[in-house]
Amino acid sequence: MSKHQYAMVMDLNKCLGCQTCTIACKKLWTDRDGTGYMYWNNVETRPGLGYPRQWDRIGGGWKDGSLQPSPLPTMDDYGHAWEYNYERRLYEGKKQPVMPSPEPKSGVNWDEDVGGMNEDENYFFYLPRICNHCTHPACLEACPRKAIYKREEDGIVVIDQDRCQGYRYCIKACPYKKIYFNEVTGKSEKCIFCYPRLEKGQVNACAAQCPGRLRFVGLLDDPESPVHKLVLVHKIALPLFPEKGTQPNVFYVPPFNPPKRGNYGSSIQDGPRVPLDYLIYLFGPDVKDVITRLEAELKKTQEGGRSEALQLLIGRDAETRFHVRPQLVQIQL
């Protein structure tokens, strides 16, 4: 158990699927050899295949205290990184169209905006995903090299690149499939919750760049932090697939509005735009209570009152959304 735990809350009602977080992460961390196919942060359309595709049905995680089996996703599941033949077109003067190679057959955002059907109407929403920096990480337990550790000071889960031998038991164990194998280095890697930024008092790149301002960052155990308030005080944010048993520290405010039909303010539960069963699939049965709470807060404001929870979710400025403190003790080199 770490002394403190960094956490992130993402308000799915505000995500516009612009992938700015994805690119912020990619440019900062996975613009290296072997990392082309990796997206430590990705935004997938739900319902949908996800990335790697069908990750939510592959396996891993805990059941009755035991790690659950899982195959490794293949490159077809992630989607090969492709390049364009600019050289041939632009420098060698070949009169060919600029084409990607290898031929794209799947990819990180392959089924964007496809969504699903609710009776005769299409619906979808975006689900941004990073490593959940779990309290009970299956990856850590699965590593025979003890290369994965949870930082005592802030609960961030990282892979020691010196100890990692690329066995990939962690990838199998992670029920969220948020660890990636770099065949060039022969080691596995993952989201590091931007700990080098946090140590300097800067928030995670994905959160800093988010135009929808839907990400909240802070210590879960800090009563002043927005994540503490959203998760533990207002109780309007839930982890993804809680039944996988890893206790994620990334939480989601579920999509709750507007209803499919009817007047503004009528309950999503009367005529759900997003089928409630699907939200229960993703966030567990507590999602119903969370939506009820959110709707009560909304009603409060519609009647002229003030909702602390909704004011916080608006997240007007960085000070509201992020509570990041640089390390008090800097190591002097």
Partner: protein, 244 residues
């Protein structure tokens, strides 16, 4: 499922008994010794001279065991490689060990060269081609302290009092010298060693150049089969063999 569990238990018992035997510090039994030829050929000619250089040296067939599934989530694996043929020769202050074994699948690739320039300065990066393949490999393990008398270290990578040296070769990533003091402690030293490998007609032939080891030193061998997703302790292993 029941049969698999029984198999796991049976093989665990086998493995454990060999571990206990190894940890008890008994000398390898008769028949578990390796004769070492004294060669007049140079280490380099034995390493790189092809099969002719080894013609006069006797072969010992060493039985391989399969580790039982180590984790609840491991897929079971069958004993596809029963044995490894070993030849050893002393020359020029070196001990050369040749391992040959049958493996119908050659699990090895040529990794793309990574340019020395920083990736951010390059238009193209070297890409991961596949994330789910494992490669053939082999290793020779021996006690780091060769003066430890009759005590053979634990076959599970030695222990705190009996560290081991592991000369590891991977069909894709090459030679790596490792050290360990018990299971889970294996670490790369960053050093490598001369090795030569060939794959022909469904057979691997790998020659390791080790420092000379005194007579009586125990050595053990391991083989990994990439197509069986072998890595880590998921492998084939021999019991200790004493060098004559």
């Amino acid at each position: 499922m029941r049969i698999r569990q029984l198999l796991i238990i049976a093989s665990s018992v086998l493995l454990l008994s060999s571990m206990i035997w190894a940890q008890a510090g008994a000398k390898p039994a008769a028949g578990q010794s390796l004769s070492v030829a004294v060669s007049s050929a140079s280490p380099d000619s034995l390493l790189n001279g092809g099969p002719a250089a080894w013609n006069q040296i006797a072969v010992k067939r060493v039985a391989l065991n399969r580790t039982p599934p180590l984790y609840d989530t491991d897929e079971p694996a069958t004993l596809e490689i029963q044995s490894v043929d070993v030849r050893t020769a002393r020359t020029g202050g070196k001990l050369l060990v040749e391992l040959s074994w049958r493996d119908p699948t050659r699990d090895a690739i040529a990794l793309a060269d990574v340019p020395d320039t920083p990736p951010e300065t390059r238009f193209r990066k070297v890409q991961t081609e596949a994330d789910d393949r494992f490669f053939d490999a082999a290793a020779v393990m021996f006690p780091a302290k060769t003066d430890s008398g009759a005590i053979a270290p634990s076959l599970q990578m030695g222990d705190a009092e009996h560290p081991v040296e592991i000369y590891y070769w991977n069909a894709t990533r090459g030679a790596m010298l490792m050290q360990a003091q018990g299971r889970g402690t294996t670490r790369r030293t960053g050093q490598n060693f001369p090795v030569n490998s060939t794959y022909q007609n469904g057979q691997w032939n790998v020659i390791f150049e080790l420092p000379d080891l005194p007579a009586g030193t125990t050595v053990a061998f391991a083989v990994w089969n990439g197509s069986q997703k072998d890595r880590d302790g998921r492998k084939y292993f021999s019991v200790w063999q004493a060098l004559e």
